[in-house]
Every structure is written in C-alpha cells, then in structure tokens.
C-alpha cells in the first residue's frame, strides 16, 4: 500500500488525475459509442428476441385477445401508447 502510494505520488500530476478519472471516462466513452451506434445503425443491446424466448413479436396484445370475450374493448379512458413515442421506437431492430 505504501509502495502504491509512493508510485502514484511520484507520477506527473496529470497522469495521476487521469488514472483516477480513467474508468469513469472509459465507461462514458463506451456509452457514447453505444448511443452513436444506436442512432446511426441499430440498437446493439436490443433485439427482437421474442421468438427465441418462445413468443412472437406483438404477442402481448394477441395473447390478451385470446382471453377477451367477444366485444370486450377495455376502458378507453386510459390512452393506448402513442406510436409517435419517438425515442422508444427510435432505431429499433427491423
């Protein structure tokens, strides 16, 4: 520990600061790359994995309809999510 302290203290000041700031800075850099890739190509962390999980895309509503009696429409006072909810639908995998 004393050795570690001495080595750190012996480094140029800017390098010492960089060592402490480096992990957060790298995390932010990866995050920035993720955002840029999502905006330009597609979201690398999201995919339509529904089928591999045993479900089909868009299956939530169709599964619900299987339970609904004929004519059931639900309460219209609660609005359905808007398709224009830009960010949520932004660059999702096709």
């Amino acid at each position: 520990m004393v050795f570690c302290m001495s080595v750190l203290a012996g480094l140029p000041r800017s390098i010492r600061y960089a060592i402490f700031a480096f992990p957060t800075a790298v995390t932010l850099l990866f995050g920035a790359l993720y955002l840029a890739y999502s905006a330009i190509v597609c979201d690398p962390l999201y995919a339509d994995d529904a089928e591999s999980a045993g479900y089909k895309s868009g299956s939530a509503v169709s599964a619900l309809r299987a339970l609904m009696p004929a004519g059931f429409e639900g309460d219209k006072t609660m609005p359905a999510p808007r398709r224009s909810f830009g960010v949520a639908c932004w660059r999702t995998p096709q």
Binding site: M5, A9, L45, A53
Partner: protein
C-alpha cells in the same frame, strides 16, 4: 512541487467537461429507461386510477382517509405524468429520464470542478451517485416519483445548505421540504437534513427556516400518526414488533453499503454471492466507507488549508451524511428495500467528492508540504480511492444492465402471468393499453458479452 499552482487556470473548462460527462451519462441511462414498457406490478392500480378518478376526488380521499401512507403529491405527480407530457403511460419513461438528467447535471453544478484535480474527483463521485443501487432502484416506473424525486431534491438541498443564506434560498428550502414531505415519507430525510444543517451551523439554513421546517415536520407527523392504522397487525413481509423494527433499521444501514441482505432479510445475506456483480457491489461499498473514514481522520483545519492552499474538507458534511443515512434506516423500520437509502446517496456522493479531492491534493503535495506527510492512513486512503475509482464505474454498468433487463423482464412476466392479470377484474379494462406498451418496446438482447462479464444475474443487482 508548489501546491498553489494547482488551483490556477481557467475554471470554466473543468466545469464544462463535468457537465458533458453528466449529460452524457444521463443520455445513456435515459436511453435505456425509454425502452422499459409499463410495469404491471403492485402499483398498476394507482397508474390506472388517474384515468378513471378526478384529481380532486383522489386528493380528498388522501386527506380524509390516508391509510398507512399519506402521499398527496405523489397523486399530483401521477396526474402530471399522465397528462403533462402528452405521452400517456409513457409519461413515466419521460419523467424518469428527466429526473436522471436533473440529478447528474445538478451534481455537476454542485461540485463545480475548477481544475483537473476537482474533475477527477467529480468523475469518481458521479459514478458513486449513479452506480449506487439505491439510485438505480428509483428507476423503476413508480419509484421515480417518490424516492427519485427525493433523491434529486437531496442534491439541490446540498447546494442550498452550502451557500450563504439568502431569502430565495430559505424559501426554496421550505418549498423543497413541503414537496418531499407530501410526496413520500422519505421526504422526512430532506427536512431533517435542513434542520440538522442549521444545528451544525452550516451557512445555508437560517434559524427561522429551521424552525418553520421543524414545525412543518411536527404538523406532518401529528397528522400522519393521528390517521395511521395499527401497524402491529401481521402483514406478510413487514415488521410487527420492536425486534423486527430494529432488524430492519440495521439491515438498511448494512444494505446501503454492501447491497446485502437483499430486502433487509438476513437470510438473504449470501444471495447472489457467487455472482461477480455482487462482489463489485460489496467491494465498492467497503472501499467508499474506508475512503470516508480516512478522509475524516486526515481532514485539515481551515487555517491549515489556507496555509497550504489545500481543498477544505468540512467534516460537518460527513456528520450530515451519517444523520441522513440513520434517518433512512429509521424510516425503513416497517419494511426495507434497496431503495430506502436513496435520500442519503447525494450526501454520500458529495462526501466522496470532497474526500477524493483531499486525497488527490495529498498525493500532489506528498513530501513537499508539511501538511501532506506519508502515513499508513494515507496509504489506506490511496488504495480505497483507487478501488472506488475503478469499481464504481462497473456499478454504473451493472445498473445499466439492470435497467436494460427490466424491460425484458416485464415483457416475459406478462406472458407468464397473463391469465392471472386477466383475473384481476378491477384492472382488466386497462390491460389493452398495457399490452400495447409491451408490444411497442424491443426485447432486451439476451446475450451481451461485455455485460455477461459481471455474471448471469447482473440484472438482479438492484432488487425490485
């Protein structure tokens, strides 16, 4: 090496870098929060109620028959979220993203780094603020309007306490207290922090303000206890006697530092212990505790700081943090969760910032200043600081993984529990828009190599 030269240079660039880091981190987290479908959990009825009950009726009911919880402003938040953003139930996503942005940028402005040393300390503290499991636990749909609001308010409170008292500042302190108290019980922590700051003779809170806030708390508690039902009846998962209350209080404190025992249940003490992210969580908490202890022990007096131009580490912030943590623990007496420490996280992050700044100054001046002599304590502090700098960003990543997996989990649970949801007659009419929200969101990819480094269960790093 002349320590005084460190403070030189243009102060605006470090602040600019800090703000860029804060906005970028908020954008990363906000991006993933925008992709969480509406959660069908125990709060779904409150979400749906907004659409079938007028605000005036809901508020009247809250004052006349508040039950175990008295949270009128939480109801107002729900109406604002439902109608204010024009996004229907996705208003929760927008609100969560705004809250995260407010938290990170306000923290950058609060720390206001003026040189490279401050900036390095800020980046570590920012990772603590966003990487802490109590912060991340506020990102769930409903929690953001209670603990999330109080967490954001906690940062503004630090700013108010730190600066000289002004009339506007005093009004803001009273308004923030009212906002927090009427939103959720954890608002008591913010009120207590203001009053305690005055008792510690910190500059931002005048005696009159402290008295007004204390009276507000008294009125709040009187009304709350007058209308509170008997808590000693057996409720599953909640404490019913003094020993269980004490157990929850202790568990909240331990959980704040190491993330265990999950839910405050001591039998969960080794849960997920085989997962790498759990050890990241434990190591980060212990390193931070060690850092703060060393910083407290090595803190210089104001006159010594002026003599060698060292950053002043005011121990009263540590006392205030300890008080906030104890208050969080006390409020967790009935039942406790990871999120119950959220109001203390801003003070933890700020104390980390002050400690890291002091550590970096000591390393700058080691051996050249009579105030920064090598010692075993400083060596421990250096190691703790390095561990914090390395590990807290990993906790930010596991928090990101938690938020990412939250969306996927909600989708999977819908299919698994669909029939049970349908059987809830009261909520049945609202399942259509809920299902649409599920279908609109993409599935979280199951295998992401960089996230799997932390273990298969990283999504459980924040207990819901």
């Amino acid at each position: 090496m002349n320590c005084k030269s460190v403070a030189g240079g243009a102060p605006v660039m470090p602040l600019l870098f800090a703000l860029v880091a804060a906005v970028l981190l908020a954008a990363i987290i906000g991006h993933v929060l925008m992709r969480v479908p509406l959660a069908f959990n125990d709060n779904f009825e409150e979400i749906a109620d907004v659409y079938r009950t007028p605000l005036s009726v809901s508020l009247t009911h809250e004052f006349v028959d508040p039950g175990a919880y008295f949270r009128p402003l939480e109801i107002v938040w729900r109406y604002l979220i439902a109608y204010g953003f024009g996004e229907g139930i996705f208003g929760y996503n927008v609100f969560a993203a705004i809250c995260v942005s407010l938290v990170t940028t306000a923290f950058a402005l609060l720390c206001h780094p003026r040189n490279g040393r401050d900036l390095a300390a800020f980046l570590v503290a920012l990772a603590v603020l966003i990487g802490h499991h109590a912060t991340q636990a506020t990102w769930e749909f409903n929690i953001i309007i209670s603990n999330g609001v109080v967490l954001a308010t906690g940062i503004i409170a630090i700013g108010l306490i730190r600066r000289p008292a002004t009339l506007v500042g005093q009004i803001c302190a009273v308004l923030l207290t009212a906002l927090c108290l009427l939103t959720k019980e954890v608002g008591l922590v913010v009120a207590g922090v203001f009053v305690f700051a005055h008792l510690l003779q910190m500059p931002g809170v005048r005696r009159t303000t402290a008295i007004v806030i204390a009276l507000m708390v008294l009125a709040y508690l009187s009304f709350h206890f007058y209308t509170l039902p008997d808590l000693s009846t057996t409720v599953k998962g909640k404490a019913t006697n003094a020993i269980e209350y004490l157990s929850n209080v202790m568990a909240t404190i331990v959980m704040f530092w190491i993330g265990l025992p999950i839910d405050g249940i001591w039998a969960n003490g080794s849960r997920f212990i085989e997962q790498p992210w759990q050890w990241v969580q434990i190591a980060a908490g212990l390193a931070t505790l060690l850092l703060l202890i060393c910083a407290w022990r090595l803190a210089l007096r104001p006159a010594q700081c002026e003599q060698c131009d060292a950053p002043y580490l005011d121990r009263r912030w540590f006392v205030l943090f300890g008080a906030a943590l104890l208050a969080c623990a006390a409020l967790g007496f009935y039942y406790t969760r990871h999120r119950h420490g959220a109001p203390a996280v801003p003070l933890l992050a700020y104390c980390t910032y002050l400690s890291m700044r002091a550590l970096l100054w000591r390393l700058d001046c080691l051996g050249t200043s009579s105030m920064a002599r090598p010692s075993r304590l400083l060596a421990w502090m250096t190691v703790a600081g390095l561990v914090c700098a390395l590990i807290w960003p990993l906790r930010v990543v596991t928090g990101f993984e938690f938020a990412r997996a939250l969306g996927g989990t909600i989708r999977a649970r819908w299919h698994d529990n669909m029939a049970a949801y349908w059987d809830k007659l009261e909520q049945r009419p609202f399942l259509v828009p809920f299902s649409v929200s599920i279908d609109m969101m993409p599935w979280a990819r199951k295998h992401v190599p960089i996230l799997e480094l932390f273990g298969k269960g990283a999504s459980g790093s924040v207990n819901r």
